[in-house]
């Protein structure tokens, strides 16, 4: 493992990277304005990002040795995930979504 000073240098570099990646287009805004037409479509970015965070944990299973994801359509995560969608549609609340999903997830873990 990295020791002492080098670790802190790594951390400071990572901090600068957070500033750059989250701020780049905010900062160069005056020289590089985002046209209104482009913004119209960038609005769809957050949904896509969330989907790409959710799907791997629901439809896939990570192989612990290779670290690669493989499809698994018979898992407690999948049933829990589907139940959470139903939970959302029924209750329209975050708590309802989680409770529905976790209940079915736990049940599926016990049964499968």
């Amino acid at each position: 493992m990295m020791a002492g000073v080098e670790l802190w240098v790594a951390f400071l570099g990572l901090m600068i990277i957070t500033f750059i990646s989250r701020g780049l287009f905010l900062l160069i805004g005056s020289k590089f304005p985002i046209p209104e037409g482009a913004h119209e479509f960038l609005r769809y970015a957050p949904t896509a990002a969330l989907i790409a965070i959710i799907l791997p944990e629901v439809f896939f299973e990570k192989n612990p040795s290779s670290g690669l994801y493989g499809v698994n359509l018979w898992s407690s995560q999948l049933f829990g995930g589907l139940a959470s969608i139903i939970g959302f549609l029924l209750t329209r609340s975050l708590l309802g979504t989680i409770l529905f999903g976790m209940a079915v997830f736990a049940l599926a873990q016990w049964l499968l």
Binding site: Y44, A49, I51, G80, S84, I98
Partner: protein, 238 residues
């Protein structure tokens, strides 16, 4: 002199309220992420400062094996940059909302934005509102982002102090994922959003094993491009 008066603005408070619902997702993500850092061998002090300084969960997770393996610094930084590449797109999206602010204010605004902050902000303000709404948007954003920061760091402390006492069987990470389900469904409210979401899902499935979690940025790009194509199709149809 920097003033904290903004914390009493109604839009700041409604931003805080809007973030308190997904707080459960933020805390559980933070706990899961930081337990992973701690069990990889990072000390409590280093874990704490990493979160304060870097404040980017997915990048932290990605670089920790490299830090532990004594990899060269540039590979660590490059990895973080690639994992964070989706934020470049987010920062372009946020640009029209905050162009009135000074350089350092924009630097701070960028730094404290993250996935969930971004989703909630665009849900409330899908279009930049011009001068009239400018401070309203900024206060709302700060309410969201500072609340997110607070809950994230709370999760860090929780992970540090209760690391050994949080059983794996709690499945906190999965509860966090389910909270995101409740965040994502309401954003899919028209035909364009629906097609965009389907294309993003397909892209995610096909790119899932790309290194550096590139699947996220690939899905974002394809989702946005799909929206462009669908919209063009609609306009031609009309």
């Amino acid at each position: 002199m920097f003033s904290l008066r903004f914390t009493r603005a109604p839009s700041f408070i409604s931003g805080m309220k809007a973030m308190s619902e997904p707080a459960i997702a933020v805390i559980s993500w933070s706990i899961v992420t930081n337990i992973a850092l701690l069990s990889a061998g990072l000390s409590a002090a280093h874990t704490f400062w990493l979160n304060i300084l870097v404040y980017a969960g997915s990048a932290q997770l990605a670089v920790i094996p490299l830090i532990m393996g004594d990899y060269p610094l540039w590979t660590i930084w490059l990895t973080a940059l690639i994992v964070n590449s989706r934020f470049l797109i987010f920062s372009a999206t946020l640009q029209p909302y905050f162009k009135r602010h000074s350089f350092f204010e924009r630097l701070g605004i960028g730094y404290i934005s993250g996935d969930i902050v971004f989703v909630k902000f665009l849900e409330r303000f899908p279009f930049p509102g011009g001068a009239r709404n400018s401070s309203l948007q900024t206060f709302y954003f700060l309410g969201l982002a500072l609340t997110h920061w607070f809950f994230w760091q709370l999760g860090v402390l929780f992970a540090i102090f209760f690391n050994s006492k949080i059983p794996n069987s709690w499945h906190l990470g999965f509860a966090g994922i389910l909270a995101l389900v409740a965040l994502v469904i309401p954003t899919i409210k028209n035909k364009t959003a629906c097609v965009s979401a389907i294309v993003a899902s397909m892209t995610c499935i096909f790119t899932i094993n790309f290194p550096y979690r590139l699947t996220i940025v690939c899905s974002v790009i394809s989702g946005v491009l799909a929206a462009v194509v669908v919209d063009k199709g609609f306009k031609r149809g009309r």
